[in-house]
Each structure stands twice: as structure tokens, then as C-alpha cells.
């Protein structure tokens, strides 16, 4: 006859379990402590690194890019918070400052371009506004993109629109620009004629006239395109934000 499990056995089992638990807690605590120490170590090193290289971060374009790449590869975003311990690097501050300046330039040029500005024009104007010292001048497109992307958290009022090959527009007014819009911008900027028309879109993109007209009207309604009705054949649509001459002449006339 099989003996039934006695109270003693159960208690023994319980005791064993408790012991295991204690041990695991102990191990966990050890691990925690070790990890904590490692983090602490990492942090001091990082701080040391940052104090040593703070100026470098502000001044050196390549350095910033490499640092960003390094962070990306280990999965941290040094810009995600101003409070986390990444803030000791001061790299966030650099980009926040840049973001504010981007907003300023966008606002200053809004009355001309309707709130759409090419990254290159933005860069030219921003650099002019920043002052003459070399470290103020060394702002790469990469820096601008990172800073501008941070502005997206303000909602749809701020957007980066890729067009063409490696080109970007920064949009500082609310409104949705879809693929059709950026296709038109790409076409207009690459064709060097700064304007498009229904027939031209039909020829280049094979769009139905109705589709083209809708998109073009939409761009006009958003204040991003201007209509020219004096062409003999059809209305032409222009984009002041793509006007290079305008960049130069306006830069000469104003502070920005």
C-alpha cells in the first residue's frame, strides 16, 4: 500500500522552495548591483567623455554625425529627453537650439513661400542668422534634419517632406501633403522650370487631367503654389519655395 504524503514531506518541500527563492533573490540582487555599478561606471565615463568633447559636439559636424550613428546602433536616442542622463552630453541642447532657429527661419519666410521651404534654403538662411564664427557656420543638412524631425512632436504643423533624390522640404504650416504633392514638387524642382501644368503632368507622370487639377488646386489652396493664367496654352503652377533666385535676392535684402 502506498504511503500517503506526510506533513513532513510537504514542509520539507516548502522549505526547499523558500531556500531556492532566497538564493534567487540573492543572485538577482547581485546582478542588479553589478549592473548598477556598470551603469554608474558608464555614466562617469560618458560624463568624462562629454566634458572632454563638449566643444567638439558643438563644433564638429562629422563628430555629431558619428555620434548619432553610434547612438542609433545601440538603440538610444540622445535627443529623446532633456532630463535623462544623456542630457549631460549637451548634444540635445545643440539640437533644441537648432530647432528653435529652424522655426524662426520658417516663420520669417512664411509670407513668401507659404510655409514650404527647401532644406538647402533653410540652411543658407539659418547659417546667415547664426553669426560668423566657424562653429556657427558648420551646420550640416543632417543636423537640420534631426532637429527638424524633433519638431514633429508639435503635431502636423511641422513636417519633413522628402522629394526627388536626397532632397527635403520643411513644411511649417498645418496641412497634409501626400505622395502626389511630393511627386509634383520633385518634378518641378528637377525640371528646372519651376512650374508644372496639367499637360506636363500628363506627359511626365501619366496622370489623368482631373487628378492633376485636383492636386494642383489643392496646392494653390494651401498657399504653396501660385497660378499664372497668362500662358497662351494653359494655366501654369509655380512654387516660390523652389525659386533659387528668390533665395539669393531675399537673403541679400534681409537679415535672414
Amino acid at each position: 500500500m502506498r504511503r500517503r504524503a506526510g506533513v513532513g514531506a510537504i514542509q520539507k518541500q516548502k522549505l526547499e522552495q523558500e531556500k531556492y527563492k532566497d538564493k534567487s533573490n540573492e543572485i538577482q540582487e547581485n546582478q542588479f548591483e553589478q549592473m548598477f555599478r556598470q551603469l554608474e561606471f558608464f555614466k562617469t565615463n560618458l560624463e568624462e567623455f562629454s566634458t572632454k568633447h563638449k566643444n567638439e559636439i558643438r563644433k564638429n559636424v562629422d563628430f555629431r554625425r558619428q555620434f548619432q550613428e553610434m547612438c542609433a546602433s545601440i538603440g538610444v536616442d540622445p535627443l529623446s529627453s532633456g532630463k535623462g542622463f544623456w542630457s549631460v552630453l549637451g548634444i540635445g541642447d545643440f539640437y533644441y537650439e537648432l530647432a528653435i532657429q529652424i522655426i524662426e527661419v520658417c516663420l520669417a519666410t512664411n509670407d513668401k513661400n507659404g510655409g514650404l521651404i527647401s532644406l538647402e534654403e533653410l540652411r543658407v538662411r539659418l547659417i546667415r542668422a547664426r553669426g560668423k564664427r566657424k562653429e556657427h557656420q558648420d551646420i550640416s543638412k543632417d543636423d537640420l534634419l534631426r532637429a527638424a524631425q524633433k519638431l514633429k512632436i508639435f503635431g502636423s504643423g511641422f513636417n519633413i517632406i522628402p522629394y526627388g533624390k536626397g532632397n527635403y522640404m520643411v513644411q511649417s504650416v498645418p496641412g497634409e501633403l501626400n505622395m502626389d504633392h511630393s511627386a509634383i514638387l520633385t518634378l518641378a524642382s528637377s525640371s528646372n522650370r519651376l512650374h508644372v501644368s496639367v499637360s506636363y503632368l500628363n506627359k511626365e507622370l501619366n496622370w489623368e487631367p482631373k487628378r492633376s487639377q485636383t492636386v494642383l488646386d489643392n496646392l494653390v489652396n494651401q498657399g504653396l503654389a501660385w497660378v499664372d493664367l497668362q500662358d497662351t496654352y494653359e494655366p501654369l503652377y509655380y512654387f516660390p519655395s523652389l525659386l533659387n533666385e528668390h533665395i539669393n535676392s531675399a537673403v541679400n535684402l534681409e537679415k535672414y
Binding site: V220, G223, W226, D228, Q230
Partner: protein
């Protein structure tokens, strides 16, 4: 109209600038740019009177480089806008001919009165010709101001009892107080 020494704004070479824009926001920017350009152009070329019917002959409204011109009805509405701020006034009822004041009549009047005070010419009588074309005023901004405009300017001063106009068939003069 000869060549005018003016630095054209970027809009002047931007073809759609010569088409009134349908989008209200864009149009507001466009109208503002036109108003500034009209006054600037008239100031530089010392143009006191614009005839809308001849607009096609004026470089201001006709950019032959890009083959674009501004429609007459648009010009009239721009000038009417300028009228609201005291910078233009139609001469005839059909609104064909317009006086353009790149300085408002009030601005002109205080400019002239300041000159009179600086020269101590109160209580003396000047002919309008002297005031506008005399050797002494060559470096003044109102040098060669158009006679009709000058009279309107002086009438502003007259209202303030700062001068009295003497207008007869032979003589046109003014006495300042």
C-alpha cells in the same frame, strides 16, 4: 517712360505675380507686394500721375522679359487699395488717371512745413514755382513735385492755418505762417 533705376523685387520676375491669385492668403501677400512696388517705382521715377490705360507702356506693369502684364482692372483695384491708405487718388470719374502719393499728403505737408521753418520763411510769400523748382529746394525730396499735388499738399496746411494759398489766373503763390 525711360529706364528706371530700381531694384526689382523677386516677385517681378515671377510670372504668376501678374495674375491675381485665387487663394485669399496668397492674394493678400501679392497685393501687399504690389502696393509696395507701385509706390517704390513711382518714387524712383518721380511719377506723380499714372494713367491706367497706358499701363502696358510702363515697365512697372509690364515685364517684357517674361512677357507678363498686369490686367487694367487689377491695377485699378490695387490703386483703390492704395487710396484707402491715402497713397493714391483718382483724378477722373472713370478712374483712368490716378495721382500717386508715395508720401501721403500729410507726410508731404509736414516735410514742406519743416523746410519752411528751418529756413525761417514764415510770413513770407513764395510762388509755387519757387517752392517746387527753385534753386534752394534742389536737394529737398519735394523738388519738382507736381503742381496739382503741391496744391493739395498746401491745402492740407491751409486747413491747419499754417499757410494761405493765393491762386489767381496769373499767379500761384503761398504765404506761410
Amino acid at each position: 517712360m525711360g529706364e528706371v533705376d530700381i531694384e526689382w523685387p523677386w516677385q517681378y520676375n515671377f510670372p504668376p505675380f501678374f495674375t491675381l491669385q485665387p487663394n485669399p492668403e496668397t492674394r493678400a501677400k501679392q497685393v501687399q507686394a504690389w502696393k509696395t512696388l507701385i509706390l517704390d517705382y513711382c518714387k524712383r521715377s518721380k511719377l506723380y500721375v499714372l494713367d491706367v490705360r497706358e499701363a502696358g507702356n510702363i515697365a512697372l506693369f509690364h515685364n517684357s522679359n517674361i512677357n507678363r502684364k498686369l490686367d487694367q482692372s487689377v491695377i485699378v483695384s490695387l490703386l483703390s487699395e492704395l487710396q484707402k491708405s491715402g497713397h493714391a487718388n483718382p483724378i477722373d470719374k472713370l478712374k483712368h488717371r490716378w495721382e500717386i502719393y508715395w508720401h501721403t499728403l500729410e507726410e508731404w505737408s509736414s516735410m514742406i512745413y519743416n523746410y519752411i521753418q528751418a529756413r525761417g520763411l514764415q510770413n513770407s510769400v513764395l510762388t509755387l514755382y519757387e517752392l517746387a523748382h527753385g534753386d534752394d529746394v534742389q536737394d529737398q525730396e519735394f523738388f519738382e513735385i507736381q503742381n496739382e499735388v503741391l496744391i493739395k499738399v498746401l491745402q492740407v496746411l491751409e486747413k491747419d492755418r499754417k499757410c494761405e494759398l493765393i491762386l489767381t489766373d496769373e499767379d500761384q503763390g503761398v504765404k506761410f505762417f
